[in-house]
């Protein structure tokens, strides 16, 4: 029976997801009748198919009845989505547990030698965890493309005449090229806002010739600019920001963080400050944006991979008041920052960590969905890897520190914790998603082992193998890849080619993210790896050296994939293993390719 239910739900899933991928973003209307109509079509078509193949009308109708019941709940609960998105999500949450249950049942019931049983159970465990993570991504992707109504989205804030509180802009710098900082300071000088100060905190820059020009420029720019050179300072960027907080003008009500390379738009403060007329608003965040890529270059693909976070998870989180403070191009209420005790100097993504503590106190946040300034991307692929390492490590630090506050029983432990269920979910999912790449590495180990076993024809199984499982795995994977490219294309409004290259841009840093996530579990502290803004010695050898591990793993996958396809029997399992290995090879080999061709810092 399980297999029949699985296949019936798989029919629904394939119909609804394919339709969503084809037409989801175009359907900009929502209406309960439209939803009911589409539900009837999807469930009806899938059920007729199941009836035709399996018969068993009672079973088919009973399961359809359950699906209709859940669909009605879903349509009522997600009124702001279009019908296609609602059905795609409904069928996803129906097919997923059935797929996992079937996979488990097969593994549990087939006769296997003990070692094979242990390995297969580990595979199922991995499958279970990664499927949950994939669901979190799927939800965000569907919401961002199929949500029709965005009540909390803001791209322009009503001006508030007379409301011009003082803003203190904090610019932490460490060993930054003075010419880049100069551009940032001059851009701030052009801000169309009457009352602000700029505190430049240069921490631990070893060479005086690097920071003296910045100090001179601060003098030139006038009394609202204050320059601090601090040595031997602990706490990296957060330490510098905390020092800046101690030196902030007591009249300043808002604090803005600006990274050393960001050119703020003249209207940055004028456009964002009025949001603080809401007394409960603690911080506002504009997207991080970049200016140093040439259209058509590899850097453009990386640019869009950066854009992903601010075009997909952030708008989705914003609808639940669950965004992160991303540091630069954000403003936070000074009193709230002092109330929470400033920036955490232990965590290397101090901005995101602070936002969780702010939300925990019941304050609100706002995502301002319009670029308010542009910075520089890392100059080289090595810099990109360092940055991703820091982001991943820092987010898992947040999880280590706050996991209890994100649990369903959090409020029982701490009645002062005012995080809503949605906020807890999005912070938890946001942190856990960083483990996806580590799980991908674990799957790769299984794949390689499977390939070896296949080639030597050993009597050993490492994953449950049945025709439905192989077919469904292949279909799910194809839909997942399509879905990823689809969301990039639609959310970022780019061509399929660019979406594809951006997708590979994200995959190219998978290995470093996997390493960072494992290290963050094992060790609690890490150095703040600053993103270099100076072009180092890049070319060939350096690029290959930077990506030697990815290149080696990719080459191994490629060789094994080809070997298994040539040397093994012509079975569905062979094609699945071979195909997956070639796919994995492409993910890992993306790193040396980007290492060679990615180059930013056009200025």
């Amino acid at each position: 029976m399980l297999i029949r239910l699985l296949m019936q739900s798989a029919f629904w899933f394939v119909i609804s997801v394919a339709a969503t991928l084809l037409f989801g973003p175009q359907l900009r209307r929502r209406h309960p009748l439209l939803s009911l109509g589409w539900m009837t079509v999807v469930l009806g078509a899938g059920s007729v198919l199941a009836l035709g193949i399996y018969g068993r009308p009672v079973e088919v109708f009973a399961f359809t009845g359950l699906a209709v019941f859940l669909g009605l709940i879903w349509i009522g609960r997600f009124k702001d989505w279009n019908a296609l998105g609602q059905m795609a999500w409904l069928t996803t949450i129906l097919v997923t547990p059935l797929f996992l249950m079937y996979s488990f049942t097969v593994a549990f019931s087939i006769p296997l030698p003990p070692l094979s049983f242990l390995v297969i159970m580990t595979f199922i465990f991995l499958q279970f965890v990664t499927t949950i993570l994939a669901l979190t991504h799927m939800f965000e992707n569907l919401e961002v493309t199929c949500r029709v109504h965005w009540p909390r989205q803001v791209t322009r804030i009503q001006p508030a005449p007379g409301f011009q509180p003082m803003v203190s802009l904090h610019l932490p710098i460490h060993d930054e090229p003075p010419e880049i900082v100069a551009g940032t300071l001059r851009a701030l000088a052009a801000l169309e806002y009457p009352d602000f100060e700029v505190l430049v905190v240069d921490n631990n820059t070893p060479e005086e010739k690097t920071w003296q020009p910045v100090r001179e420029l601060c003098r030139e720019l006038g009394s609202r600019y204050k320059f601090f050179h601090i040595e031997n300072w602990p706490g990296y960027k957060s330490g510098a920001l905390n020092f800046a907080l101690s030196q902030t003008d007591p009249r300043a009500e808002l604090i803005g963080v600006v990274d050393a390379d960001y050119r703020a738009n003249p209207d940055f403060l004028r456009e964002t400050v009025p949001a603080f007329t809401d007394p409960n608003l603690a911080f506002i965040q504009a997207p991080q944006d970049y200016r140093d890529y040439v259209p058509g270059s590899w850097a453009e693909a990386i640019y869009h991979s950066y854009e992903y976070f601010f075009e997909v998870p952030m708008p989705v989180r914003n609808e639940r008041n669950a965004i992160i403070f991303a540091g630069t191009m954000g403003l936070i209420r000074a009193a709230v920052l002092r109330e929470i005790g400033g920036w955490d100097e232990w965590c290397i993504t101090e901005d995101a960590e602070a936002s969780l503590r702010v939300l925990k106190r019941g304050y609100s946040s706002q995502y301002f969905h319009r670029s308010m300034g542009q910075g520089l991307m890392p100059c080289t692929f090595a810099g990109l890897k360092r940055q991703r390492f820091r982001w991943c490590f820092g987010n898992i630090q947040i999880l280590r520190k706050h996991w209890e506050a994100l649990m369903p029983w959090a409020r029982l432990l701490d009645p002062a914790n005012r995080l809503t269920a949605a906020q807890r979910y999005f912070y938890l999912a946001g942190c856990l998603q960083w483990f996806s790449d580590a799980f991908n590495v674990a799957f790769l180990v299984f794949l390689l082992a499977g390939a070896v076993i296949k080639m030597i024809s050993a009597d050993f199984t490492i994953a449950p193998v049945t025709v439905p499982l192989i077919t469904l795995s292949a279909v799910f994977m194809a839909l997942n890849i399509w879905r990823f490219g689809w969301v990039l294309r639609n959310a970022l409004r780019i061509s399929w080619g660019l979406a594809f290259r951006s997708m590979y841009g994200m995959f190219s840093v998978g290995w470093v993210i996997a390493l960072a996530s494992i290290r963050a579990v094992l060790q609690s502290r890490a150095a703040f790896l600053r993103t270099p803004k100076k072009m180092g010695r890049v070319p060939l050898l350096n690029a290959l050296f930077t990506t030697q591990w990815e290149a080696a793993i990719g080459a191994a996958c490629l060789a094994m994939g080809i070997a298994v396809l040539i040397l093994s029997d012509r079975s569905a399992t062979t094609y699945l293993i071979g195909g997956l290995l070639l796919w994995q090879a492409s993910l890992y080999l993306a790193a040396p390719v980007y290492g060679l061709f990615y180059k930013s810092c056009t200025e």
Binding site: F117, L118, M121, F125, R219, E231, Q247, R338, I340, G341
Partner: protein
């Protein structure tokens, strides 16, 4: 001995500000030295956040680590769970017996026990099946 001065917030002169060296800090102030070697005490001007990781290990940390290991232990047919979940429960029991847990403590004990029990429940049939295959 350098002069010790108590400067109010924001009153560092531009000359002082352009070269400061960290000498230490306590709960409320930074202790800095300037280019003349004068020691300055600069108020932090913010609340004290709870330190993390805490100086002393949280009473429940070992139980949580064991629980996490028990979760991962589900992968090899639940064998790891059989190893790690009981000590997690014992640790929590130890806290219940030997210390006087407050409300939060009792909730944590309940969480550890419930999670460990659920994991054991899931792990037992898997481990039994594994043993069957060995035997």
């Amino acid at each position: 001995m350098a002069e010790l001065s108590r400067k109010p917030r924001g009153s560092l002169s531009p000359e002082q500000a352009s070269f400061l060296k960290y000498e230490g800090e306590d709960r409320d102030v930074y202790i800095l030295s300037d280019c003349n070697g004068s020691i300055l005490r600069v108020p932090k001007n913010r609340n004290q956040a709870a330190a993390f990781p805490a100086e002393d290990i949280h009473t429940f940390t070992p139980a949580y680590i064991l629980l996490f290991a028990a979760f991962l232990g589900l992968a090899p047919a639940g064998l790891g769970t059989l190893v790690f979940a009981p000590p997690a429960m014992l640790w929590a029991l130890g806290i219940a017996v030997l210390r006087r847990p407050g409300r939060a403590g009792w909730i944590r004990i309940a969480v550890v026990w419930t999670a460990a029990a659920l994991m054991l429940l899931a792990a037992l049939p898997l481990a039994m099946r594994f043993l069957e295959r060995i035997g």
